[in-house]
């Protein structure tokens, strides 16, 4: 019934749109004007002029001019919004057939709560919204901060948005988590929308011959930060209801740059820099001792004390710090780009091109290279083996805005990215170079002190990803009546990526299966995400009590598909590099498709531009829902009240109270509803290899989406003549029908698990944003910004009879956070015999796994500081990032002490007793190394100098700036290893910090030139 209603409403809206076209001709006028800075008289560009209470508006061009077409006669309130200025409201009267002029002179204001944001129904003023929405001014950040990829742009800039890195390699991606983890079995990734098109961010796992030790690139980083105009982050279901069944984890709405009317404006930039490893690696030890029978053996301190051996000599090395052996060097980065934008009233354009290249920290040490020369009888080794971590990326974008008539406009957006990413062997990996150095034995009697695979072998395996991605969309805006706006967006994110692994015969790791006989893998993937988004909004001002009404109806259809052909060949002949060359070949194919279709209706009433009440419903159907489940309806209700608005008041300038209640969901996996068999090959006596089928999975025909309901409430305040803004939000999100990969009793014979709606997960928290202009003098300006968040995540319940869900070091158990760390722990130690050595019988540990803490930060605080000197000609800024309330499993040290037993705590007499206790307890109590991971990082530091225009005349530039920046400069932490941010697996669970490269220190110099 609801579906019919919404469908009918959509039809009526569009029919109205068409029918009214002719009627509208000849009875309207246009409003034009110019916007200037009151203080300087200079034009203000990018100011948004809107007819209050409607969706009708325009943006000023470089000359500060704007034009709003086809306005019916009447009196309107024009609202002007521009970052850095007070918003203004001005009354204009429009007469039929006569142009109306409305000019604005804007007053500067450091902070304004008002902005125009993109929502599911179109652009809206923030005052209309009942929820908080984060807005990032991407061009400013990119121009002045050390941003090397899209995720750098997000990191630390919005309360409640946490990036969790796997490692510090070039191309190594992070997970983005907004307001905690909601799902125990499904993705917790937010939805990403670029110019109206949903885009792919999740990468297939790098497994099998593609394994790189954990982590995986994130396709989000294909987006070029240089092309982005702004980013809006919709943080939870209370705000994301109208995005439907993929939006429970929040939505990141990205708008790329657009051309504006005016002559061509060129922006060019060049950037170069280096990266360094900030980590300090521990040494490795070997103690030569004699056993009672006289034979030589490794003799630990406690073993000597226990009489098991007699110490002769302690040896130590540090293969990662020794310049002769270290595979860690200096990375390099360079980036160049040019952008041009401009146009006239008919056509506006933005075109950009960008090329970047980055080499990571790893390189083949000279000594290892020389060994390879001898081993292979060559005098050259391939560059990919010498520098095993590289990224080359080319980005092109062309955005066109076409004014078709006074009432219609088309925006065409087209972006292309090519990237080649060579991913190194690190992490939880026999070929991982950090692990090989950390877990070797410095016994002088051994030929090699590397553990597992030394760099000459590990680097001989190349794993790469080559990506081609087109993100295309077209949006038709059509305003048949001054009260009716329609929008239709059609888009496609098309991405082809090849994951490749190459090991030549006779090269590579010697204890990694048969890889040394040669490997060639090429997995070709096509990823297609289609988006169709239709919307119609009708705005009226009702004649009673200054009530405005806005009704929006819409429909969205999304088809997501991933199609792969997977090929691996092993045992290649010398010189063989292709699949054909392999003696053993395997191949496969994968198709994953989901389709969703949703419709919505939203009704908003406004009163005197102060009070806004919004109600909405969204109805979704999805191909992944069970056959016995039809559709789901998500409701939304929001209130926003502008309690005070007085830009000239000395103390309190703006106060807005807001609250929202909304729901959205998360779709099940594509095949979760069906029982199926999978084809395979089996060997049969007398027949050999024959086609066969095996049981795939037991489907759940009742499956439905996870349903997340969130209530959020808060206030926005600006004070002290708009010098301080405070945004505070409390949220309470409850995910019911949580899709849990419920373990099946093995005895059913149906495999390990079936997805069922059997859990309840909650996330509660507070977010605080404070921005203050602390100093505001002509030659000295100081801005302080703080983004802080607190989150409490709990799995509240599982359906009766379901035992806790367990995995490697994690449990999802009611009453505890999702994916917390669970291992037996060290409960005490005592040097009872006072010999300065902790022996195994002097520690106590738990018999069973116990909860050790959340593996996701529960507290984040980011402080950004900007100092403007000499009329802002020189700007110095620093971003300090704190994360706390979580633990990281320091497997770097656990593995060294508990398994390889080459750590200082076991070999150095008189070492710290607690570390000794952890080392001897480690084999039984892995959580001895579950360590508080709270840290403070000096994440960004930059100096931007605006070059005087008089200096630029020779190059005919209009603006130029020189920027010197650094990233990840200092880390303060009690964590007992090199980077508490690292999370080796790159997934929500399991969580462990294991021999990954640290986030590198990056130093960049950048020149921005505008013509």
């Amino acid at each position: 019934m609801m579906s019919r209603f919404i469908r009918a409403t959509s039809t009526v809206a569009f029919a109205c749109a068409l029918a009214s076209t002719a009627l509208a001709q000849g009875t309207t006028a246009r409003i034009t004007g110019r916007v200037t800075d009151r203080e300087t008289g200079q034009p203000v560009d990018a100011a948004q002029v809107r007819i209050d209470g409607s969706t009708i508006g325009a943006i000023t061009n470089g000359e500060g001019n704007y034009s709003i077409q086809r306005i019916a006669p009447g009196t309107y309130q024009l609202r002007l919004v521009r970052l850095g200025y007070q918003s203004m409201l001005q009354s204009v009267t429009v007469r039929a057939g006569a142009p109306t002029t409305a000019n604005f002179a804007l007053t500067r204001a450091p902070y304004q709560l008002e902005s125009v944001v993109t929502t599911a129904t179109g652009e809206q003023l923030t005052r209309e919204l009942g929820h908080a929405i984060a807005h990032l001014d991407a061009p400013k950040v990119v121009m002045e901060q050390p941003i090397t990829n899209f995720q750098d742009l997000l990191n630390g800039r919005s309360a409640g948005v946490t990036l969790i890195a796997s490692n510090g390699t070039v191309g190594g991606g992070s997970r983005v988590r907004i307001r905690g983890l909601s799902s125990a079995s499904l993705s917790n990734d937010p939805l990403i929308i670029v110019d109206g098109v949903r885009i792919e961010q999740s990468s297939p796992a790098m497994v099998g011959t593609l394994y790189i030790g954990g982590g995986r690139p994130n396709f989000m980083n294909n987006l070029n930060p240089e092309e982005i105009e702004n980013i809006e982050i919709v943080k939870g279901p209370s705000a994301a209801t109208l995005y439907g069944t993929q939006a429970a984890n929040g939505v990141i709405v990205i708008t790329t740059k657009r051309g504006r009317t005016g002559p061509p404006k060129w922006n060019t930039y060049a950037e170069g820099g280096i990266s360094k490893d900030p980590a300090e690696y521990p040494s490795i030890y070997y103690t030569r001792g004699a056993a009672p029978n006289g034979s030589l053996r490794n003799c630990l301190q406690w073993q000597a004390v226990a009489g098991q051996c007699t110490i002769q000599q302690v040896f130590s090395r540090n293969l990662l710090e020794d310049k002769e052996t270290s595979p860690i060097g200096t990375g390099q980065r360079q980036q160049y780009g040019a952008q041009v934008s401009g146009g006239n009233e008919s056509i506006r354009y933005f075109v950009s091109g960008d090329w970047e290249n980055e080499n990571g920290l790893l390189r083949m040490p000279d000594s290892e290279r020389d060994s390879l020369f001898k081993e292979r009888g060559v005098d050259h080794i391939p560059r990919r083996q010498q520098i095993p971590n590289q990224l080359t990326k080319t980005s092109l974008r062309s955005n066109l805005g076409l004014t078709l008539s006074q009432t219609s406009e088309v925006n065409l957006s087209s972006g292309y990215v090519y990237s080649y990413n060579l991913l190194p062997q690190t992490g939880d990996n026999l070929q991982g170079v950090v692990g090989s150095a950390m877990y070797g034995i410095p016994n002088p009697a051994l030929a090699s002190h590397w553990g597992f695979a030394p760099p000459r072998d590990g680097f001989s395996k190349s794993v790469s990803r080559v990506t081609n991605q087109f993100i295309n969309s077209g949006t038709l805006h059509y305003r048949p009546q001054d009260w009716l706006n329609t929008r239709a967006t059609v888009g496609l994110d098309w991405m082809q990526f090849n994951d490749q692994a190459d090991v030549a015969n006779g090269q590579g790791c010697r204890i990694c299966g048969i890889e040394r006989t040669g490997v060639r893998t090429i997995n070709k993937w096509n990823n297609l995400k289609y988006s169709v988004d239709l919307n119609a909004s009708a705005s009226f001002t009702l004649p009673w009590y200054a009530i405005s009404s806005k009704t929006a109806v819409g429909a969205q259809w999304n088809r997501d598909g991933r199609y792969g052909t997977l090929n691996t060949a092993q045992t290649l002949p010398p010189g063989g590099t292709t699949i054909d060359a392999g003696a053993d070949k395997t191949s496969g194919e994968q198709t994953i498709e989901t389709v969703s279709y949703g419709t919505y209706i939203e009704q908003q009433f406004g009163w005197r531009e102060k009070l806004y009440v919004t109600g909405a419903l969204r109805r979704d159907q999805n191909s992944a829902f069970g056959g016995d489940f039809g559709a789901i309806v998500y409701p939304k209700f929001a209130v926003s009240y502008v309690a005070l608005e007085s830009n000239d008041a000395p103390w309190l300038n703006q106060v807005r109270l807001r609250g929202a209640l909304g729901e959205s969901g998360q779709q099940p996996g594509a095949a979760a509803a069906i029982t199926y068999l999978t084809p395979t090959t089996s060997t049969v006596f007398g027949l050999g290899d024959v086609p066969s089928v095996t049981f795939g999975a037991l489907g759940n025909n009742n499956i439905k989406p996870e349903r997340s309901r969130e209530i959020e409430a808060g206030f926005d305040v600006t004070t002290l003549r708009n010098r301080v803004s405070v945004v505070l939000t409390y949220y309470d999100k409850k995910t019911t029908d949580a899709l849990i990969n419920r373990p099946l009793p093995g005895s059913l014979g149906a495999g390990g698990a079936r997805v069922e709606n059997v859990g309840v997960v909650t996330n509660k928290g507070t977010e605080l944003s404070v921005n203050a202009r602390v100093l505001d003098r002509v030659n000295l300006r100081y801005d302080l910004g703080v983004e802080a968040s607190w989150n409490k995540n709990r799995l509240e319940e599982l359906a009766p009879g379901i035992p806790p869900l367990t995995g490697f070091g994690f449990q999802n158990r009611p009453g505890y956070p999702l994916f917390g760390l669970w291992w037996p722990k060290l409960t005490g130690f005592s040097d009872a015999n006072k010999n300065g050595t902790i022996e195994p019988n002097e520690v106590t540990v738990t018999d069973t796994a116990v909860f050790n803490g959340s593996t996701v930060p529960t507290r984040t605080i980011t402080a950004s500081n900007t100092l403007g000197l000499f009329k802002d000609r020189l700007r110095l800024s620093a971003l300090v990032d704190y994360r706390g309330g979580y633990i990281s499993h320091n497997v770097n040290n656990l593995f060294q002490c508990a398994f390889v037993q080459n750590c200082a705590a076991l070999h150095v007499k008189g070492f710290d007793l607690e570390e000794q206790a952890k080392a001897v307890a480690g084999p039984r109590a892995f959580a001895a190394y579950a360590e508080k991971a709270d840290f403070v990082k000096l994440r960004e530091l930059s100096a931007t100098y605006q070059i005087p225009t008089t200096w630029l005349s020779r190059v005919r530039a209009s603006q130029a700036s020189l920027v010197v920046t650094a990233r990840n400069l200092v880390t303060w932490t009690d964590f007992n290893s090199w980077d508490p941010e690292n999370n080796t697996s790159g997934s929500d669970g399991p969580n462990y910090n294991f021999v990954q490269l640290a986030q590198p220190r990056v130093y960049l110099v950048r020149l921005n030139l505008a013509f």
């Binding site: 068409l18 004014t403 048969i514 992944a624 066969s692």
Partner: protein, 447 residues
């Protein structure tokens, strides 16, 4: 610029068409068509019923599943397999790697939440269900006798026997067809009886195949032996020729078909032949017994740099086979029955018949009762090495011959990591089995 303006005028005419199309897309299409998603990777089980090709595919798939669950490898996940797991749990193999969850087996201290073990348990039941499904499909599709039907029932029975031998008592036998059927926890004896019932079905459907008849006979003998029905066990295998062998089959065609223990041993140094492990263990690595041919010189594992490297040469290849049932095992069953009956002459005869295929010298009666039992189980240990028999045998030594657990299983200090072995004599049933409302845990952890 003028041209661009013309283009924009032209586009204006397209405008209304676009709106119409969009409106139609939103309203006119049926949602069924809008939501149509391709699923070519999946085969509908209903599509295979009632035809011989479908039944043959199910049959072949069940054999592949059995190879995975028995020997380990890539099924729906990577399972360690019963051959490897029971090798660790017993004195056959030592762990030369580092992942702690697998090490638990070698330490005889396996938690019910051990994820590394879970996959093999799942694979076993999947195989059992797949074999039953294939047997039923074959019965429906073929018109005459067909040995594949008997073979499938025998495979299902083999999995049940292995469940009883390797795990603590209490493994249920459930099903998903025609609906979810949760099984009751079964004692080891009940599991063997359930296996024998399957073997009865198998025996009725051998299609005249001597190979399948022998397989059924040896499995029946093994089940009966577990239930201490020695004369019946001997009778069951009496007609099995000594040269008979039923093996799992492997190939390099796909990852799933590759012999997992080969990689785990020769390439990863993680699964290494033991030698007098934990005091009670036999000298598999150094005995020079032709039934346990050894590669490697005892130098440290390249993985953990501590465990001596000895490889079992029979598994030196991804396409090597693993014996499930054999005529040698039949002779050893007869021998044990003779020993139980105090017929030492026959016992010696049968033991030496079992050694004959290896051209080994004959053994002689050691005389003392305990020594005879030791010899009996030593012969079984070497003849059935790395075929998932050893844990069952060690448990039988405790259960049927009154040996102490710590006199037969490896015990005491572990060879690395400052650890001491636990006291498990079997593997705990995985925690996920508790999703079965009839199951609360192992009935007991004893032998």
């Amino acid at each position: 610029m003028r041209n661009l303006t013309k283009i924009s005028h032209a586009l204006a005419h397209v405008r209304e068409s676009l709106v119409v199309v969009a409106a139609l897309a939103a309203t006119a299409c049926s949602t069924e068509r809008l939501l149509d998603a391709a699923r070519p990777d999946f085969i509908d089980p209903g599509g295979l019923s009632g035809n011989l090709q479908g039944a043959a595919a199910l049959y072949a798939g069940a054999l592949g599943d059995f190879a995975v669950s028995h020997d380990g490898g890539l099924g729906t996940g990577i399972g360690i397999g019963l051959v490897v797991a029971t090798g660790f749990m017993s004195d056959e193999f030592r762990f030369g790697g580092t992942p702690p969850e697998i090490r638990e087996m070698d330490l005889r201290s396996v938690r019910e939440s051990n994820g590394a073990w879970l996959q093999t348990y799942l694979d076993q039941h999947r195989t059992r269900a797949a074999a039953d499904r294939a047997a039923e499909a074959l019965k429906a599709a073929v018109t005459g006798a067909d040995s594949r039907i008997g073979e499938m029932y025998a495979i299902a029975a083999a999995e049940i026997i292995l469940l009883g031998e390797a795990y603590c008592a209490g493994a249920p036998l459930g099903a998903t067809e025609p609906e979810l059927i949760y099984g009751d926890p079964l004692s080891t004896q009940q599991l063997m009886q359930a296996a024998i019932a399957k073997l009865d079905l198998a025996a009725q459907n051998t299609g005249g195949s001597a190979r399948i008849s022998s397989l059924v006979a040896v499995l029946r003998g093994r089940a009966l032996l577990n239930n201490a029905q020695f004369p019946q066990a001997a009778a069951a295998v009496a007609n099995v020729p000594t040269s008979f062998a039923y093996t799992t089959l492997h190939s390099t065609k796909t990852e799933r078909q590759k012999l997992f223990p080969h990689n785990y041993m020769y390439n990863l140094d993680s699964w290494l032949v033991s030698d007098r492990e934990g005091g009670n263990g036999l000298n598999f690595a150094t005995a020079g017994d032709p039934r346990v041919p050894i590669d490697g010189d005892g130098s440290p594992s390249r993985f953990d740099q501590r465990t001596p490297r000895y490889y079992f040469r029979k598994y030196n290849g991804f396409d090597a086979s693993v014996t499930v049932a054999s005529g040698v095992e039949a002779r050893l069953i007869e021998a044990e029955a003779a020993l139980q009956a105090s017929n030492t002459a026959l016992w010696m005869t049968k033991l030496n018949e079992a050694r004959a295929p290896y051209a080994m010298t004959t053994v002689t009666d050691p005389g003392a009762a305990a020594a005879r039992v030791d010899l009996m189980f030593r012969e079984r240990a070497f003849a059935l090495f790395a075929t998932a028999h050893r844990v069952g045998d060690l448990r039988r030594m405790i259960r049927q011959y009154s040996r102490g657990a710590e006199t037969v299983f490896p015990t005491g200090a572990y060879h690395k990591d400052n650890l001491t072995r636990g006291s498990d004599v079997n593997i705990a049933l995985p925690i996920s089995e508790k999703n079965n409302p009839k199951f609360t845990g192992c009935l007991n952890r004893g032998a």
